[in-house]
Amino acid sequence: MHSKRSFIVEDLRKAQLANLLTQGKRLDGRSLLDYRDLKIETNLISKAEGSAKVSLGNTQAIAGVKVEIDEPFPDTPDQGILIVNAEILPLASPYAEPGPPDEEAIELARVVDRGIRASDMINLKNLCLIEGKKVYTIFVDVSILNVDGNLFDATSYAVVSSLLTTKIPKYEVKDGEIKQVDEKISLSFDTIPISVTLGKIGNTLIVDPDQEEEALMDARLTLAVDSDDNIVAGQKGGAGSFSYDEVIRATEIARLKGKEIRSKIKEVLGIG
């Protein structure tokens, strides 16, 4: 954890980083397109229908899935409901404060949610029990336990991993009533969306910025890529800007790294 530094120290550090970047290196020794170590543990919360704890370097996120039976939204009577939420816990950083989510936490939750939803990872129609009356509501709540940069990707991997290992209670529909069956079923998936976050420092693009790099970088671009290499979601952040070429290059990097990380997650979770 770095304490707040003076402007002078900050500028010196930025110069040092800029110098390293021209050599294709970063402060922690990674090269520009290297992710930090990714660790995933699943099923550690037995009260949840699915759960995953993800470490991306020192950034830690834990996701839990809870399932309820509710009425569908009136405009989508034949679809289940998926709600992704994220919270930066006050224990995660000396700068996080208790209280309602601020704009940063709201953006985090909405961007991760969009990445899952827009990919059609989960077919919400499969989550309908009785049209217009009874559907599954899937809550995915993510808590950030330790902040060290790139919350977007860590949160997204936690959501994806917890959903991939979720088992929901099965219901039978009989005479317009539902009845819980003593069986648990997995969700079905057509694709696995992977979030890839890039940082821009000077004119260099890096992936998976840590907290120090985030403090020094000009702009952020998060792209989510599905199993077929389509871009399914994106969000630019930060006060800086990107050239048009950089955007195109970013999509290429996202496809490349997305494939890598998808393989890694499937391997850890033991999925085909």
């Binding site: 402007f7 704009e103 940063e104 709201i106 953006e107 939750a109 909405r110 969009r114 827009a118 990919s119 702009a219 671009l221 792209l223 599905d226 290499d229 389509n230 871009i231 399914v232 979601a233 994106g234 969000q235 630019k236 952040g237 930060g238 006060a239 800086g240 800007s241 990107f242 050239s243 048009y244 950089e246 955007v247 195109i248 999509t251 496809r255």
Partner: protein, 240 residues
Amino acid sequence: MKMGKLINEEGLRVDGRRVDELRPIKIEVGILKNADGSAYIEMGKNKIVVAVYGPKEVHPKHMSLPDKCLLRCRYHMSPFSTDVRKNPAPSRREIEISKVVKEALESALILYDYPRTAIEIYMEVLQSDGGSRCAAITAASVALSDAGINMRDLVVACAVGKADGMIILDPNDIEDKEGEADMPLAIMPNLNQLTLLQIEGKFTKEEFEKAFNLALEGCRKIHHIQKKALMLKYFGKVEE
């Protein structure tokens, strides 16, 4: 997103536009007396008022920044702006848009010119249509100019979408809801820099590049309208 008949056999959209055509746009400058700068935009059915206050004192004081200006941004929808009445309290969607719009505009502002002060940008959507965040950005950068704030460039925004499998420019409300994908973006047209990008929905590699270029083209057209509106306010006429 259902696959409706959003584009007919002649290649025309539900509102009669071609796929690469913008909706009608109108921009007025300096429409509010109290604000330091203001603008009004109509873009399709979007009707948005933007006011800029500042540079001004920061309240509360401890939030002021020693070396630069504090930028605040609020994107808000009027209760009567939507098909179903909207609760006046800010939604999570409005909070997220306020943030990305702030960052889209911040790229163009020279905040180090105004240390220890604040600039506040208020965007009120009186009537919403597809692309309201883009229209708001376009109008806000005009209002910032009207307030005399130092800027590197104007910021201009436009969305592209996907409907019936085709890339379309500047989606309206129906295309936004029933189409397959949406990508709003903002640029600084003279500096050729992108300051906002959001993507929701599937784009293949080829579709993405086509859509991206179409959006840039749309932005350049809107930029022309921004300049005309400012000229009209400050020089009373527009030379074509």
